[in-house]
């Protein structure tokens, strides 16, 4: 078996783990599809307020790639179209109707996967509204279908704090997963890799035919695709790899099997401020109050669509993001201030540094809030980033190159091997409170602009 052991990294011991019990959430009162979940696209609306939509009907498409549509995950009425700055589409809100009516969407059945050309297959996935599930490295955006990937990675482990375990979220979906792998095999000439946690056992995810299985051991970021690529098959600079989560693979497989738009997903609700911490089967894009006992959590709680490392704070009245498999609710902590926070030993506070004296008697879990715990400073490198980065990159030098707008240097330093999620721990551990991910994204944007 292929086992990779990650030494450097850090598992943030945050309180509020979700029970592995899976429950069906009630049908949401509102559902949204947010164009902001897909940065880099140019959305063009296909519906207007008051329109009736069926499940799977396209709501908007990408002007850069007109085949790629974004579909409604529910049958109902478009209740509101929210526009952002410069009238760019922010999100489409739909209030669900009483019955579910499936639109007749593009489809390739499992039997025809082998005989359909790659081009037709890609177009079908795009027109079915499922293409954004497949993302690519470098850059970490929706896959560019013009390029044939050298490999496709299916991520069956998630080491982010409190993240939904793909093993739980994929329970009972063996057939969908197998169909999904067949679909992926038709999209690449390279290998399809499935990554799993060392020691995890799953009837659904283990030994999927057609895929090569790799196990990962160690702290976060052992579960990130950036780590997997560097351990399994580092890419040449001309190559592209595609990746998706195991849960996303199950949804693709569901489409192959049923021909319908997959509407529901299993997400974990976690975090010390979440009322009921377990897994829910819930509709894509559901209003988050569906998962928090029917009413939005207050201002004093930060509700995150995603994990505390890579999610987005959307507020108690926000919606489940397209790429969110975890909903985390933690205390916000705004304006709570510690007297002499910098000077006292602070034995109860979490830190990767031993200058915070909690390492003498570490707690199993810490109730963390969203405070920065310090003011922004310019880079003073005490090794905080390097200590949590297992990749063979020098994060400080990479960040400096990007800050100096030196794209060529940044590329040589491995810019294309990372996205913001790979450096999230650097941002967490930094005494100078630098938004490392933001800088990395700025570098990647620069790369996309200049090609």
């Amino acid at each position: 078996m292929n086992v990779h052991s990650i030494q450097k990294g850090f598992d943030i011991p945050i309180a509020g783990k979700a029970d592995t019990k899976v429950e069906s959430a009630p049908e949401p009162l509102l559902v949204a599809v947010a164009a902001t979940d897909f940065p880099g696209t140019k959305p063009k609306l296909l519906v207007k307020e008051g329109d009736a939509v069926r499940t799977g009907d396209p709501l908007f498409f990408d002007k850069k790639d007109r085949d790629t549509v974004y579909a409604s995950p529910v049958t109902g009425t478009v209740s509101k179209i929210v526009l952002g700055a410069r009238r760019a589409l922010h999100r489409v809100e739909i209030s669900p109707g009483a019955t579910e009516d499936y639109a007749d969407i593009a489809h390739v059945s499992r039997a025809k996967l082998g005989s359909t050309s790659r081009e037709d297959l890609v177009r079908a996935i795009k027109q079915a509204g499922l293409w954004p599930m497949i993302r690519q490295r470098p850059v970490g955006r929706t896959a560019n279908s013009d390029v044939t990937p050298s490999a496709i990675y299916v991520n069956g482990l998630d080491t982010e704090p409190l993240a939904a375990d793909p093993v739980v979220a994929c329970e009972g979906r063996r057939a969908d997963l197998e169909a999904g792998i067949e679909l992926l095999k038709a999209l690449t000439d390279g290998k399809v890799y499935v990554t799993l946690k060392q020691g995890a056992s799953s009837k659904d995810l283990e030994n999927l035919p057609g895929a090569e299985e790799h196990r990962f051991d160690g702290p976060h970021p052992a579960g990130l695709v950036g780590t997997h690529i560097q351990c399994i098959a580092p890419m040449h600079s001309s190559e592209t790899a595609w990746y998706l989560k195991a849960q996303e693979l199950a949804l693709l497989g569901e489409w192959v099997q049923s021909g319908r738009y997959p509407t529901h997903r299993v997400v974990a609700v976690a975090g010390s401020s979440a009322p009921n911490r377990h897994y829910y089967k819930v509709r894509q894009g559901a209003a988050l109050m569906t998962l928090t006992a029917g009413k939005p959590l207050g201002e004093e709680v930060r509700v995150i669509s995603g994990t505390v490392l890579s999610g987005e704070a959307v507020g108690g009245d926000g919606y489940l993001g397209f790429y969110a498999w975890t909903v985390t609710a933690i205390p916000d902590g705004k304006d709570e201030r510690d007297l002499f926070g910098w000077a006292l030993p602070q034995a109860g506070k979490l830190s990767t540094s031993r200058s915070v004296w909690s390492w003498l008697k570490p707690k199993n879990e810490y109730e963390l809030d969203a405070r920065m715990n310090g003011g922004p400073r310019s880079i003073v490198n005490i090794g905080a980033w390097e200590n949590v980065t297992p990749l063979d990159i020098h994060p400080t030098f990479l960040v400096r190159a990007i800050q100096a707008n030196d794209l060529e240097e940044a590329l040589e330093l491995g810019l294309l091997e990372v996205t913001e999620e790979d450096v999230a721990l650097c941002t967490f551990a930094d005494p100078c409170k630098i938004e490392v991910g933001e800088i990395i994204r700025k570098g990647l944007d620069l790369y996309e602009e200049e090609g």
Partner: protein, 436 residues
Amino acid sequence: MKFLRTLVDKQRKLYHEPGSKLHKIWPLLDAAETFLFAPGNTAPKKGPHVRDYIDLKRTMSTVIIALIPCLLWSIFNTGHQHFAALAAMAGNGAAAADYSVGWLQMLLLGSDYAPNPADVGLFDKVVFGLDQMIPIIFVSYFVGLNIEGIFAVIRKEEISEGYLVSGMLIALIVPASIPLWQLALAVAFAVILCKEIFGGTGTNIFNIALMARAFLFFGYPAQISGSECWVSGNDHMGLIDGYSGATPLAAAASCKLESNAIVQAEGVEYYASAAEAVGYSWSELFFGLIPGSAGETSAFCVLLGAAFLLITGIGNWRTMVGGVIGLFLTTWLIQATPAGDADGIFGLPAHWHLVAGGFMFGIVFMATDPVTCPETNRGKWIYGILVGALTILVRVINPAYPEGAMLAILLMNAFAPTIDHFIVQGNKKRRKARLG
């Protein structure tokens, strides 16, 4: 505590928002505010929502704590050396009547204080030490922090904590007898010309404290080199003028060896070895009962600080270990050549070099400065080893400067980016080999 918070929140209104009354000088008020209360701002909507408890204030204050043993020692030893010199110059009890009293001695012991130098207690020494050190520390911080504050206001950013450490370091690496106006000038030079014009903490090339010392060293050599500056007297006293409190390194550097003299000249002292010429035992050097810059004499106190830095992980062990290795290897190398038997410091054993002068203090507290040392781990090894090696080269080969740690570290500061460049180049090459 609640009362304090209410007060802070109330004052905050006066400067926090743009357009408020004192908004122009918000960095100064913010510094005071965050000194009391950790900032209460939260993470942005995207990106990590939880953050490590460490911040730059804690990082820097950890180094300050590590400096406490050296600071305490500087207070004691300044007094100790002072009274030892007095005793040596004046003979038992003779000078007491002419003793001119310092400001703190006047406050605590009265204006008719007349110590018998042969019979002074710990309290007298500590009072004298404080008498000398408090003004030095005050001037160092007062000048440095004011400049930092002005630049922060101009730049409209929060005041960086870098000078908290630099200010203490400067106080500890100058002789306690340093004229305060020279010190003020040196601090201003270092902070403005070596740090702020480069962009402030995090962007300077040279260690600030060492630049201040180098400024004094080249600008006012009479007050920071030779043999008469290392023991502190009182202003306008003159009692210990002319007292030679040569540092051990200077003593060793100028010694003549018996074994090299065919005929022993009259009026010249000959020694069996360089170590004998030092005039102090190894353990006196180790514990620091010697003349020298205020806070760097005690290797023992430096080790206490080093232990604290290593336990907390704030200081980098690679630089420290590399430095010691470089120092030992270079000393052994020189002594393996014929020059090893020459007069002067050539024959001083490596473990004497280690505890004499400012090397230990420099390698632990200044070579590890995260801003001016290499950032790669392998670079830190190379850098440390070269600092150790250069220290010995300056001490031994260069007859003009008995102490080499300062120049060695400053020189390596200049090369730190080059060292990193080659290490990072290796990373790029590996990437190219791997990815094509």
